[in-house]
């Protein structure tokens, strides 16, 4: 079996530590895609969020179109599109055309989304997201099956409950980077049981996202990475569980810090041999595509490219 390695996830954020203009960030993205293709990566993946001060990419498919135009063999995926905030007809019609123009290189990862201000921007109640997803996902899956070429769909999940939705439709998972091996194993067991109960044949392989940084000098790169990782995790943590009413700011920051420390432990960092061995552990669980996030916010170009080339060595090891 061949383990596919995707490069991601790119959000094109103009972060406070390195507030490049977005014209540069999108130019950099296209250069990174060309580099990924030249190294032989399976695919590159884009992330989506809305209405945030650092200009996090809100329109993955528009960016995907540009990458597909710049490359010829590299797959391009969304990791993940926040489907309940969109029109399912729009996504289906966009994906059908982009898949044809991209000669079958587009994949869609879709998930619920979780940040109240994003739902609110589009006039949608966050609490309706599950119902919306239940209604939209089967329609999108059918449209994507009928597209020529068909568009592979992955369902982004961070919990077993969310995996049940995908199981009922027999759609492969795109597991969140923060899940532990134990959580992943439990989720896959639940998924397989759910698929059996629904009379659906589960897919052979699922996709997984991991934070990965390949380095030959851990000390140098850790001091460079830590502030970037802390920024990213603080941002996601702040979105996932905002300060509660009545909670003091120091208490909130303490809660956030605890989450950051826990999530930082999921980072796979080391030389190519070490990273390859770690990724094979996930392959053994049933993940055939691992999207390795090496871009955290907006890393210095030289550091990012060194990590991408290192990950290329990992890809060469695990994909043969």
């Amino acid at each position: 079996m061949t383990l596919r390695i995707g490069l991601g996830v790119f959000g094109m954020q103009s972060v406070p530590q390195r507030p490049d203009h977005h014209v540069k960030l999108y130019r950099d993205l296209l250069e990174d895609a060309e580099l990924a293709e030249s190294i032989g990566f399976d695919s590159i993946w884009l992330s989506e969020h809305h209405f945030w001060f650092d200009g996090y990419c809100p329109a993955d498919l528009a960016a995907a179109g540009a990458i597909l135009g710049r490359t010829t063999t590299l797959g391009v995926g969304t990791a993940v599109m926040l489907l309940p905030m969109h029109s399912v007809e729009k996504v289906a019609d966009d994906a059908a055309v982009i898949s044809r123009l991209g000669e079958g290189r587009l994949s869609l990862g879709v998930a619920l989304g979780y940040r109240d201000p994003e739902f609110d921007g589009f006039g949608i109640r966050r609490k309706d997201r599950g119902k919306l997803m239940d209604a939209m996902l089967p329609r999108l899956a059918e449209s994507c099956r009928q597209a020529e070429p068909p568009v592979p769909i992955y369902v982004g999940v961070a919990t077993s409950i969310a995996a049940q939705r995908a199981a009922r439709l027999g759609l492969p998972l795109f597991a969140d980077s923060t899940m532990t091996v134990t959580e992943l194993r439990e989720m896959l067991n639940g998924y397989n049981a759910g698929a059996r109960a629904a009379g659906v044949t589960p897919p052979a392989l699922h996709a997984l996202q991991r934070d990965v940084f390949v380095t030959d000098d851990r000390e140098r790169d850790w001091s460079m990475l830590l502030p970037e990782l802390r920024y990213m995790r603080r941002q996601y943590g702040g979105w996932s569980f905002p300060q509660e009413e009545g909670e003091t700011t120091p208490a909130y920051l303490q809660r956030l810090e605890a989450d950051i420390e826990a999530k930082l432990k999921n980072l796979i960092m080391g030389d190519a041999d070490y990273v390859a061995a770690r990724l094979r552990e996930f392959e053994a669980l049933g993940f055939g595509l691992i999207v390795c996030r090496s871009q955290f916010g907006n890393l210095p170009r030289e550091s990012l490219h060194r990590a991408i080339r290192g990950l290329g060595k990992v890809r060469a090891q695990v994909s043969t």
Partner: protein
């Protein structure tokens, strides 16, 4: 005067057919090359397709998009990201499609469309938006969503300070709406005697057939500039349209002998 090629329908286009056309447009001295959605037939992705095309041509790229079908902030976000990925070369034509409106179960009233296009314009302007309309409320400020901001803005912004946007005016009120919002006005050749007058810096746009001739277009433009999209599709048509139109449209007194074949 400006000269665009297209719009080319996305229903059956392939990457190679679009890139070939863009190459022919460049060789024939067109200023831009355009693609066109047909969401009633399942062909969306106009801005993604334009962003793709921009990677293979130095020309400006345009997308004719079906409008009023989904939330205008999504359209604004698509425009912004496509423009950034094209390094500021995106142009947009907003169109109405009644068949697509039905398919998307979108609101069909004039008032709804006015709100939709107005919110799009405000978002593209970079303003911090709070819109309280009959059909749209942006942000929603729904009690169920907490915390929810009172205003929001499009971020990232497009690369261009002002993205050129035209509205295809099939009824007079659409032209009025376009002008109110600072958008250009577009018409189909044959439905109007004149090229629409400019809106600010944006010339009136005319969608022409592939065999459009320079003299009637210049007569229709009168004292105004015009932006002519020519729907030539084959290599021969594109080359011929460029020869026939580029020179005469760009400078008065184009010498007839240039194209006489002698």
């Amino acid at each position: 005067m400006r000269l665009g090629l297209g719009p080319v329908g996305l229903k059956s286009a392939t990457r190679s057919s679009l890139e070939r056309l863009a190459s022919q447009a460049l060789a024939a001295s067109f200023d831009s090359v355009w693609v066109e959605e047909s969401r009633a037939e399942g062909a969306g992705g106009g801005l993604a397709a334009a962003a793709m095309l921009a990677q293979s041509t130095p020309l400006r790229v345009g997308a004719a998009v079906d409008t009023g079908l989904y939330h205008p902030l999504h359209l604004a976000e698509d425009i912004a990201v496509a423009d950034l990925a094209c390094q500021g070369r995106i142009e947009v034509l907003l169109r109405l499609s009644s068949a697509a409106t039905e398919k998307y179960a979108a609101p069909v009233s004039r008032a709804a469309l006015e709100e939709h296009v107005t919110v799009l314009g405000r978002a593209l302007s970079g303003a911090h938006i709070q819109w309280n309309g009959k059909h749209l409320r942006v942000p929603g400020r729904l009690e169920a969503n907490q915390p929810a901001p009172q205003r929001l803005a499009l971020n990232p912004r497009p690369a261009q300070p002002v993205v050129p946007v035209w509205v295809e005016a099939v009824e007079p009120w659409m032209a009025e709406l376009a002008r109110t919002l600072g958008f250009g006005v577009a018409v189909r050749w044959g439905t109007e005697a004149d090229v629409p007058s400019p809106t600010g810096r944006w010339p009136g746009m005319v969608l022409c057939s592939g065999d459009a001739q320079a003299a009637p277009l210049l007569a229709a433009a009168g004292e105004h500039a015009g932006y002519f999209l020519v729907a030539a599709t084959t290599a021969e048509q594109v080359a011929a349209a460029g020869r026939r139109l580029a020179g005469p449209l760009r400078m008065p007194g184009f010498p007839a002998w240039v194209n006489s074949g002698e």
